[in-house]
Symmetry: C5
Subunit: 154 residues, 5 copies
């Protein structure tokens, strides 16, 4: 059975891992390894440990950066670390970040976090089991958590 790592944070204001786990259970039979860390800058090593030490085939890195400039910088640093973790392991780490200033109310923020996480779970499942489905969706202007932008043509 495939192993999926889910790394999330205590900083986030929404339980994104909860959404992820529910969505995985709907669609796939996988073993889930969960790893919670304080903030997004702790996610890269958590993801790498899930891949190296807990046998995961793929990891979802869930975070909710705050609205300030320093939060944006933390998210940037975390993103670079997540890319590096992937290059060191040759495995995918799907970054699912929801910025607190992407929504106007707490309710909308929770909804966005839930939706984006769930849509990226579908991406993870396709990467693991059905990569050809992704090829069919290539260039389709997909947007996780938002309405798709859609494809354009010549």
């Amino acid at each position: 059975m495939n192993r999926v790592g889910i790394a999330d944070t205590t900083f986030a204001r929404y339980d994104m891992a909860g959404s992820a786990i529910k969505e995985f259970k709907k669609w796939a039979s996988v073993k889930i390894e969960r790893y919670t860390v304080p903030g997004v800058k702790d996610l890269p090593v958590a993801a790498k440990k899930l891949l190296d030490e807990r046998g995961c085939d793929i990891v979802m890195a869930l975070g909710m950066p705050g609205p300030e400039a320093i939060d944006k910088q933390c998210a940037h640093e975390a993103s670079l670390g997540l890319i590096l973790a992937q290059l060191m392991t040759n495995k995918h780490v799907l970054e699912v970040f929801v910025h607190e200033d992407e929504a106007e109310t707490d309710g909308e923020l929770a909804e966005l976090a839930d939706m984006r996480t769930r849509e990226h779970v579908l991406n993870a499942i396709k990467l693991l089991f059905e990569p050809k489905k992704l090829i069919k969706e290539a260039g389709m202007g997909e947007r996780e958590g938002y309405k798709d932008a859609g494809p354009i043509r010549l």
Copy 2:
């Protein structure tokens, strides 16, 4: 037969890989390995996997970053990852990014994406088969997808 990796995204609004494959077929006899991922930040590991695990000699990384500041930052992070993937493998990964705000209409954007991709396919072919042709074009002010800036002289 040489193997060319084409990594692209479901986020992009134009099927850049389609353009790339058509252009390759026109000019070269290569085996194409295609790998579609959700967004540009997933491209570095996709490129590395194409090089390490699927035997590609070169990769084209095709992406279409959105117009917002966060999109620009994602593209920056992806670019750094693509450079690192190359340094870890000693193989070329040609980044072909078309920013959504580079064009005013969807039609122009599609045209730009098609053109830039096709012109970079020619670069890939030269890197693989005719590196001396690139030396002849050195310093000529070439611009993929736009009119060339042209050379200047003393």
Copy 3:
């Protein structure tokens, strides 16, 4: 007995390591290895040496960047180095940075530095001994040194 590395700086205006050591003694029986360096940019290698050469299982990297643009840039560079040190060792390095401009008076700054350090000590202890407790706090909007933002729900 677990070994905890504490890396701190002479640049900081508050003895954050003092707070950390006191807090560790309250809650855990660990051997503490302390390593003081001049500034935050010296922390990444200090952390890595604590992990590689002095047998630490986890490191806390304590720093207090100044208020100028150049200080912010130093902190950014240090943060990237700390993430890299973790990816190279597969161990956690908890970054505890307090920016001088986060408080209006010296007293408030000292209090913030003390509180944030102590709250991150609790994170370190959980990462070492009780990772399941962190899972329970996932998505709770925790803020080290500040009032928690709290969770939001659908």
Copy 4:
């Protein structure tokens, strides 16, 4: 005989490699390996391949970034890659970048590109053959392509 790698681009509007080769021939007996790539972001792997696969002792990485913000970012990414290539090989890669907006006319730009390249060739020769000469010039405020700023004293 020492081997010098020269990596340049088709994006540049001036044949900087031509200037470099002429200047090398004036002053040193070296074997030159030339490698032309599309743009500055392709230079890091080109430099690394010259060092790793074509036996170069040093590389000059010649590029001419455009005037837009995106060009500046590409140059930044390329610079980071060039530094990394050096750290992975323990060999020097002299970056010679001329930004298109450093000059007001095409003629001045060509002149600057020619001069900066030639002055860096002298640096490369000193790094290879006469490192002590560089020590004598330390702290002298040298500027490649511009008038030297000159030394200051207590």
Copy 5:
């Protein structure tokens, strides 16, 4: 006898290495290996070569970035490279950068460069021989080249 590497540049307008060497001679018996390169972006590999190939136990990387935005970016890139060089070798590289716009006159700039370099030499000596002294200075708000900010307390 310990070996100290001193990497400096011809770009700098003050002979910072001269100050460093004088200060080392006053306080410690070390063998000094000097390595001059053109600019700050050449310092990371110079530092790494001093550590890997010339047996240095520690390196001081001395530079004087210019006042323009591009100079700031070069310094940023160099700093990241210096941090990486340390992580690859598990040895300290003390960055001593003096920005040209930190002083109003050439005389003040020279004085600042001299002072900051000398104070960092004392840091290097403590890192090498008396790390416990640094622990005593932790959190004291030390500033190399400027008046110390001093410690704050609860």
